[in-house]
């Protein structure tokens, strides 16, 4: 068991210590500037899509990168929240901020239930259990009345944020999404650098040791799972408002696979990796949709290449090369 965990650390450990590092703060500032300027250069809807998936990937990365838990069922939280937000905003007529909040709360609750079941097993079983549970959510979305079956929930009104800001304006929507993303990102940043995050890392490195030091590791893992699920839900709910749509695509297992790929490509266990990975995968999907190439094959090849050739991911490789890897 110990050697197994050791292997993960070798491959994924990021140079994160208790305090935010200088290069990290610089990177955050650069990211912020880029994102504020982005809608003037790029198509805003595209950047919003990237931001939603980036937050989703960051939430997923909180589990795999910092607690060492591979969830293969995060689509359930992302898509589940999308359905709840879309339904509450469209049918109940709630304002968007409340809809997103309810979606997030739904995902957090679902995360509590799934997490409590899944942490009873470890490693590969954890991945299979989360996958199976999320497939259950998929079948429910397919069969329940309010989710609209194959059609999903369409034409969700964007509405007015806090009753004032008209979100049908692209720029207003964009900066709202950016604010949501930054909120989620900073929550993760703060979590990772908090004592709680340190304990999570201890569990990832050596769980038996963490137990023997007196930590109730199951509680920590469950809390991390709920937090990750809630943030994935925040991303999903926001996505439902941006695209005015919640469909089966959001809860399918392919979505769980996509978020794994984004995180793996960008760098598991790095703060910025999932953002980079999400941007690349969304760009790639946009580009491939216009071409004749089969998308799943290309995605699959990148998957295999990542696993075989650069397991640290893009940001992980950069961090290891330029910043220097700390033990």
């Amino acid at each position: 068991m110990a050697t197994e965990i050791h292997a993960v650390r070798r491959e994924t450990a990021a140079p994160t210590t208790g305090r935010p590092s200088m290069p990290g703060l610089v990177a955050l500032a650069v990211l912020l500037l880029v994102l504020i300027a982005a809608p003037y250069v790029l198509y805003p809807v595209f950047v919003m899509k990237v931001l939603c998936f980036a937050l989703f990937a960051c939430a997923f990365n909180l589990l795999i990168g910092f607690a060492g838990l591979l969830s293969f069922g995060h689509a359930a939280f992302f898509g589940g929240a999308a359905y709840i937000t879309a339904h509450t905003v469209k049918v109940w007529g709630l304002p968007p901020e409340l809809g997103i909040l309810l979606g997030t709360a739904f995902s957090a609750t679902l995360g509590l239930a799934f997490g409590a079941l899944a942490i009873r097993r470890q490693g590969i079983y954890f991945a299979m259990i989360t996958l199976a549970l999320s497939q259950m959510v998929f079948f429910m979305a397919l069969q329940l009345k309010f989710t609209g079956g194959e059609d999903g929930i369409q034409a969700v009104p964007r509405g007015h944020l806090f009753g004032m800001i008209d979100l049908s304006q692209p720029m207003a929507m964009y900066y709202t999404v950016l604010a949501v993303f930054l909120f989620g990102f900073l929550v993760i940043w703060r979590t990772v650098h908090s004592p709680f995050g340190q304990v999570l890392k201890a569990i990832r490195e050596n769980e038996p040791r963490a137990i023997s030091l007196g930590y109730r590791t199951d509680h920590y893992k469950l809390m991390a799972f709920v937090l990750s699920a809630a943030l994935a839900g925040l991303a999903g709910g926001t996505k439902a408002i941006v695209f005015q749509l919640a469909t089966l695509t959001d809860v399918q297992w392919q979505m769980s696979g996509a978020v794994v790929l984004m995180t793996l490509l960008g760098g598991i266990g790095t703060l910025f990796g999932p953002v980079v990975g999400a941007a690349l995968v969304v760009t790639l999907e946009n580009y491939l949709a216009a071409s004749n190439l089969p998308v799943p094959v290309v995605i699959g090849v990148i998957f295999v290449a990542c696993v075989l050739l650069f397991r640290r991911g893009i940001v992980g490789e950069i961090a290891a090369r330029f910043v220097g890897k700390r033990p």
């Binding site: 591979l70 590969i124 397919l142 794994v260 793996l264 094959v297 699959g300 295999v304 075989l308």
Partner: protein, 295 residues
């Protein structure tokens, strides 16, 4: 007696038979997963894609070369097994020293590639595969009508499962295999070629998936997506049964197939999720699975 619990017996036995058929495929696939996991410590996410590959090889043999069902039953598993051997030698074997999750991610990528490629070339619609002449028609058992082919699938999968169990638990080669599962380094020190055994195990496991694919071809149509949804149910079956025992994987497979069939009779809305619900219950009561060992 015209009804059982308010259900006409025809419908009840019909669904139970369907459940038994599904259970046969769960058993064959989870058996392959368990054998592979025991040796490689890898959960083979590509298992569903390879099951689909088996069905497609049979279909291609028939449509392009005119080779029929019985030869396909032999050839398709060989092709899939050979493909598996190549995958293991070139890709999977590079990952054994790393965390097992990388094996899962690699095979996930492979599944995407195989399924995406077939989807690109053959579309998502199913291709019909005829039932072989010998097995057309059916038997009237008095309480229900049994199509010959379905009976054959149940018998064939039972025989294969039992033969695999016998080979692993009762032969000398199986003893090596079990020993290598427990302690590969020691077994290698005794002069047994463990890497070769690992490759052969993976080839055999995926050949089972290929065989299941051929058996499934005349029942479900041959389509690129036939494996991807099945494999998630099989994962749940594996979690419920635990991967400690061969016989456990087989029994759980058949049992859950039957339960799914029963659910279809009494509460059809839940038939898709009943396996997952059972998985949740088993996790609460016996986290290691019904036949699993606590580590």
């Amino acid at each position: 007696m015209s009804t059982i619990f308010g259900i006409p017996p025809q419908a009840l036995f019909g669904q139970l038979l369907l459940g038994l058929i599904n259970g046969s495929f769960y058993a064959l696939l989870s058996l392959g997963l368990a054998v592979i996991f025991g040796m490689l410590n890898v959960i083979n996410f590509a298992h569903g894609a390879l099951y689909m590959l088996g069905a497609f090889v049979a279909w291609l043999l028939l449509t392009t070369a005119g080779i029929g069902y019985w030869w396909a039953l032999l050839l398709a598993p060989l092709v899939v097994g050979a493909f598996g051997v190549v995958l293991e030698k070139t890709l999977l074997s590079r990952l054994y020293k790393l965390d097992h999750l990388y094996g899962l991610l690699l095979t996930f990528g492979l599944a995407l590639i195989v399924e995406g490629a077939f989807r690109h070339f053959y579309g998502v619609s199913g291709q019909p595969y005829p039932i072989p002449d010998l097995l057309r028609g059916g038997q009237n058992l008095g309480f229900m009508f049994l199509p010959n082919y379905r009976g054959w699938v149940v018998v064939a999968s039972l025989v294969v499962c039992l033969a695999t169990w016998y080979a692993i638990e009762r032969t000398k080669l199986g003893a090596y295999l079990r020993a290598a599962t427990e302690n590969p380094v020691l077994v290698q020190a005794f002069g047994i070629n463990v890497p070769l055994m690992i490759t052969a195990t993976y080839g055999f496991g995926v050949a089972l998936a290929g065989l299941a694919g051929v058996l499934a071809a005349p029942i479900y149509q041959v389509s690129p997506l036939m494996g991807s949804n099945l494999i998630i149910v099989v994962f749940a079956v594996v979690v419920i049964g635990g991967m400690g025992s061969i016989l456990g994987a087989v029994l759980t497979g058949y049992g859950l197939g039957l339960l799914e069939g029963l659910t279809k009779v009494f509460y059809p809305e839940a038939s898709n999720i009943v396996v997952f619900v059972i998985m949740a219950v088993v996790l609460l009561i016996k986290p290691a699975g019904l036949f699993g060992r606590e580590r």
